[in-house]
Amino acid sequence: MKKLLFTIDKVSTFVGRMFGWTIVGLTLLISWEVFSRYVLNTPHAWVLDAQIMLYGVLFMMAGAYTLAHGGHVRGDVLYGFFEPRTQAALDLLLYIVFFLPGIFALTYAGWGYAGDSFAIRENTFSPEPLPLYPFKYVIPVAGFFLLLQGLVEIARCVICLRDGEWPSRVEDVEEVDVDKLKKMVDVKDEDIARLDEYVVKQEAKQ
């Protein structure tokens, strides 16, 4: 069971990371277009559409990846202070009430929406048109991965309800990785601990 959960975690992570690399493409594409437009004086009409597509693909496909690592923003007034079991019960309920209907509807509707676009081989509205239907297929595909990851999260909630603690997740880079930052500026835990004397000294004075 645990293995299956981890496998799906890894799939979501892999997909999200793979499409994450589009940010490098986006940076280079626009920088090149800026150079081409302002220096070489040859703008390209298709770049505008291409950059929108790259951005859309980037964030849509990273949705499941973000969910797999708990990266979607939560209202944290109460949640952080709850017991794990309470957290899991609440999450389980809301995954069923909000997440599943919402994402299922999005995936289903997206499939039809992209299918319509594919039927007419829709292109972008531009002097240099690009095919638009692959971009629209991103909606159901991203929705599918989210749904899959959502089911994994539901399984996690159930496990947590049973065990009383959250099952582990696959490791990933963190935005504020304190250990990495400490290493970056050469500060060691002992240094911080040694500072305590100043704090104590100051408190003694007051």
Partner: protein, 648 residues
Amino acid sequence: MKKELRFGFALMAIILTAVVLFMPWGHMTNGHLGLLMLALIVVAIMLGFPTAFTLMGMGVIFTWIAYRSVNPDLAVEQTLDLMVQRAYGVMSNDVLISIPLFVFMGYLVERSNLIKALFHSIHLAMARIPGSLAVATLITCAIFATATGIVGAVVTLMGLLAFPAMLRAGYDIKLSAGTITAGGCLGILIPPSVLLIVYGATAGVSVVQLYAGAFFPGIMLAGLYVAYVIIMAKLKPQLAPPLPMEERVIPLADWVKNVSETISNKSLPGLLGALKGKRNAGVSSGKIVRQLIIALLPAIVWFGAMGLTYRVVTAPPEVVDTQGLQEMGAADEGAPAMESQDSGGVQEPQAEGVQEPPADGVQEPPAEGAREPAGAAPAAKPAAPAAQAAPAPAAQAQPVPTWFWLTFGIGTGALALFYALFTFARLEVFKMLLSSFFPLAMLIVAVLGSIVFGLATPTEAAAVGALGGFLLAAAYKQLNFGVVRDSVFLTAKTSAMVCWLFVGSSIFSAAFALLGGQEVIETWVLSLNMTPTQFMLLSQFIIFILGWPLEWTEIIVIFMPIFIPLLAHFNIDPLFFGLLVALNLQTAFLSPPVAMAAFYLKGVSPPHVTLNQIFAGMMPFMAIQVLAMALLYMWPEIGLWLPHTLYK
């Protein structure tokens, strides 16, 4: 029960009680349903489920209810259509596209690891100011946070660098903690910030104008922080004792010491003297020349800039190209507008120049005038046929306007003063700043400048900024695959977080509009007969209160769509409102219990520093934020002057 839980439950209970009491349960209209949805979403968000999906789920359910009340047969189909269109709208939104790019730039800059050098050099440059360490912390935060925009990382890094330094120097714990947390949040306000893009996308306000508008309020807030710290350090020196002399000493190389003792301790005459070989300094002249060039950099930059301005203001008036504007003309016109900004906002140098007495024109070297038309002609030629070329010979060099000489004189005087005080120790500090402060400042200025002056769209500037982040990381020898990979993955996650929130809120607000919740709120607000001032105060107060339990992303994407349509009734500029909101949401980071900044600092501080001390330290800075809002409200020009001057 824990204190924090009680607080949250109390808030929830208040909302639910209000709903139960005020809902006209007997005769519910769709509009009331909309309000119910709004109340429920606040409660649901507080339960802690990922907000994007809470919004999406609730939006779908209520959209279906709204459609069903009209035509039950079509309801499901219409709901699905609306959902997918809203999602696609976010995917093809050309404002939000700059978010991943700015985020990516931020991660790259953060990982280029220049914060240590930045803090150190700014600290040395500020050594004489009271509370120098705290002031340096604020300035470092402002610059670094502006470039990265990642509150957590900035607070953590400054907590590792500046907090120990301040504690060792005997600074008050609360003051130190407040400085770091408040400074770390400045990046949210000072452009290029993601908050302003999110607001712009939600409210339909131009991001360019928001950036231009937020620039001075951001600087003002940072300035108020600095002023507060300096005043505190002056009034109560025990809170921020001055640095002992021995810590201010800047180590100099032996030959430099030698020169400064034997020839002059001022860098310029000292280096010149050493170069002449008046006294043997014992170093190769190449080394001295290199130092000399660095020492002369401010002068070179100043005279170069003034020379360029001179060229631009004396250039003959543009030959108007009737064949349609091309890039060349646009770029040329942009340049004088920029220069005029430098010289204290004198507009349109060309028009100004015409009114000048021709006597000034005599000072003009003829060579310059002869070169200019030659340079201008090719630009006009390809497009303009022979008949239109007629005005070209008439184009003459403009006389030099007075303001130019005035600026030139004042600037040169300041430069002379600078060199009179420019000792070898200061040269050393200058060199440190040159390698840490200026590259970052230039990146920010280039990105921001090109957006604000209309040379590039925010998207283009963001992409070039990200490329600049690459170069910066490369320049600090931090660019490797690991850094890029981490930045890419983090960018993917952060963009997904923000943009999926938009997908959710876009569906949610569609449901809200379908149910007519907006109309109910509008009729209700208008029935209160508020003055614009009262409305402004009330709305800002509500946002302030919401900042306690919610994060800024949630506040903007959920509540701005409700406030923005009301602004028109009260004749409030959405741009101005946005600036106030951006200032206001600064408090959201510092207000307990969700004050992210405090928790990040706590994570890296010595164990005896308590959260309560950090919270207490943040309070004065929150008061300053409120003061800054009041100032901006009383003098809207602080924010609106720049956008109004630039985009009339």
